[in-house]
């Protein structure tokens, strides 16, 4: 293992950074909804999957890439609003465990619908493929998407931070995340705050869908499923209760996953998931409330 760690080259590092950036966005998407609804959305990956299918169909119909991106956002946003109305809203008063199982069911439902409609073989989303070519920076080949992913993620996070800090809706969202009942008593409108969080989280899923399809253009029904599981682990690892630790957790696990994937020798790289999740379990044992949180959080959340 120690020798393997030294094998990391700049390319691996750049790819790991990009994966971390994408996972950080997914973590924010999951964390925002958790903040206002106390609901861990297991079906987040299926939003990404739907967006990816939109991109794949757009490239199959030879649409220009901007139209494909628009279609992707339209599909993902519509689906997140539908999910909120049909599933999250009736479940709002349930315990977090029930909600987690329910979103698990929704995830499976959406995945099997995709399987039913689009078949198991998958479609190719190729309209943004040029981004996958490398640029040479001081002798090192770095894929353009790595740079794009890091920049886009940074921009999204800054924009989100501004929204949360500078606007009324953002303030209300933060208040709701702290204490929903008190916030409502003080005049925050629940539907508006939840709707805002769901929309932003959906938009982020759209961004993630675009960047993941550049990296892996083959879109199958289980697209982004593994990523969601890993990101969920990362979010819990960082600390679900607050947005910044959740984001850091998502980034950390994406970065670690990318680094391990590049650094493990080939005969061990098939055990990547084992190493990754073993590390997650170890960290959870030492810091059950999250790696990047201070103090003790509430004892029993689910």
């Amino acid at each position: 293992m120690t020798l393997a760690v030294l094998n990391i080259d700049w390319q691996t590092l750049a790819d790991a950074l990009a994966l971390g950036a994408i996972y950080a966005l997914m973590a924010v998407g999951i964390g925002l909804v958790f903040g206002v609804l106390r609901l861990v959305n297991f079906a987040y990956g299926q939003l990404v999957m739907a967006g990816a299918y939109a991109l794949a169909f757009a490239s199959q119909w030879n649409w220009p890439s901007w139209a494909g991106i628009l279609l992707c956002f339209a599909v993902v946003l519509a689906l997140s609003v539908a999910m909120d109305r049909l599933v999250f809203r009736p479940l709002r008063t349930q315990s977090p465990a029930v909600m987690l199982v329910a979103t698990f069911a929704v995830a499976y439902l959406l995945q099997s619908i995709a399987l039913l409609w689009f078949g198991p073989l998958g479609k190719i989303a190729s309209s943004l493929a040029p981004l996958n070519r490398p640029v040479v920076i001081s002798g090192v080949d770095i894929r353009k998407i790595a740079i794009v992913a890091v920049v886009v993620a940074a921009l999204c996070l800054v924009a989100l931070q501004l929204l949360l800090v500078r606007t009324t809706v953002g303030l209300q969202m933060r208040a709701a995340a702290m204490d929903f009942r008190t916030a409502r008593l003080l005049g925050v409108r629940a539907d508006r705050v939840i709707g805002g969080a769901v929309l932003i989280s959906g938009a982020l899923a759209g961004v993630v869908a675009i960047m993941l399809t550049v990296q892996t253009p083959l879109v199958t029904p289980d697209f982004a499923l593994r990523d969601t599981i890993v990101v969920l682990a990362g979010v819990v690892l960082g600390g679900l209760n607050r947005p910044v630790p959740a984001t850091l957790g998502g980034f950390a696990i994406g970065f670690a996953s990318g680094l391990l994937g590049g650094a493990l020798p080939t005969n061990q790289s098939q055990y990547l998931d084992s190493f990754l999740f073993a590390a997650v379990i170890l960290v959870l044992l030492v810091r059950p409330n999250g790696l990047f949180t201070r103090g003790r959080a509430a004892l029993e959340r689910v």
Binding site: A97, Q111, P288
Partner: protein, 334 residues
């Protein structure tokens, strides 16, 4: 009178199993597989129930106990002569031993229990979401290792050549054992203590119950049952790692939730109901003739319907079909 009521709670699910098994003897041999399969699924769901139902803590990791049980029973019961063909990289002590049906099932149960103990010792300290995600980690690691570590099994290949001893009889006995163990556990003082921690962890620890120890106990018991179910499963049909992964986790959780997670009756009813629906849809995917018309559903409809059903039950009736109550006979007016 109390004792009679208690025994009714055990008799309800058991009678259901016997009826399902007897129904299975009446149908054609080709459909009999569905009945056997659903009895094995009952065993898995009852195993899940012992932990999730009594403790109220979610676990996504139990299918890895099932998988280890299946691997243990499978690798030990393939005849020695056929081992090199399907498992060329097997470790020496596994290559040279073959054991019978019953010992392999017993060892499968032991393996499931030991893994649950090893995993539970650290993990049961966690609660809530951390526990849910950590058990997911267990599932991922278990799947990953069984898939690629070819010294202990067929790796990516399918477990063929395992003697197919799990018929209706063996599956029914397995399910009845699981129900008996689950019933005995939930009536025991340990089961009651764990149920107290489910209702109110703080109050339970205030009267001196160790939440950690009670959860660990239930985890091991349910690991034993899950391992046994895995053994039964591998003796039923050729399995591979993908059959013991997310799909099965989803299906069994759906069964538990649809039936009602907080009672044994709910676990059994949910497992049988969803399994019956699932089998019917699997038939319909190949075309089934109903009075008046032929139902021919496209492949993949099963999971859509089961997923929708699970979401609907959670939204409309979160405590499940049985409302989380145990079986009782309708009371006669005196």
């Amino acid at each position: 009178m109390r004792r009679v009521a208690n025994l009714t709670q055990l008799a309800g699910p058991s009678v259901l199993i016997v009826v399902a098994a007897l129904l299975g003897t009446l149908v054609s041999t080709s459909s009999r597989g569905y009945f056997v399969n659903s009895l094995v699924e009952v065993t898995i769901v009852v195993a899940l129930y012992v932990f999730i139902g009594n403790s109220g803590v979610l676990s996504f990791g139990h299918i890895s106990f099932v998988a280890l049980g299946a691997w243990t029973a499978g690798v030990l019961s393939v005849p020695v002569g056929e081992k090199p063909a399907i498992m060329p990289n097997l470790a020496h002590f596994l290559r040279d031993t073959t054991i019978g049906n019953i010992p392999s099932l017993a060892l499968a149960a032991v393996a499931g229990g030991v893994l649950a103990l090893v995993v539970g010792l650290p993990l049961m300290r966690l609660s809530g979401l951390a526990a849910g995600i950590a058990t997911f980690g267990v599932l991922e690691i278990g799947h990953n290792v069984l898939r690629y570590y070819e010294k202990i099994g067929p790796g990516l290949n399918t477990f063929s050549s395992v003697p197919e001893t799990t018929g209706l009889f063996q599956a029914a006995i397995g399910a009845l054992i699981a129900i008996g163990v689950a019933f005995a556990y939930q009536r025991s003082r340990f089961g009651r203590m764990l149920r107290a921690t489910r209702e109110d962890p703080s109050a339970a620890s205030a009267v001196g119950i160790s939440v950690y120890r009670q959860r660990l106990g239930a985890f091991v018991v349910s690991g034993v049952l899950a391992g046994l179910a895995g053994g039964l499963y591998v003796h039923l049909l050729p399995l591979n790692t993908e059959a013991l992964y997310l799909d099965l986790t989803f299906l069994t959780l759906a069964m538990l939730v649809v039936g009602g997670a907080s009672s044994l009756w709910g676990a059994v009813v949910g497992a049988l109901a969803v399994s019956a629906l699932d089998s019917f849809l699997a038939q319909a995917e190949n075309g089934v003739r109903l009075p008046g018309f032929t139902l021919d559903l496209p492949g993949g409809t099963r999971l859509v319907v089961v997923g929708a059903l699970m979401a609907l039950v959670l939204i409309l009736r979160p405590s499940g079909l049985t409302g989380g109550r145990e079986f009782s006979l309708p009371r006669r007016r005196a």
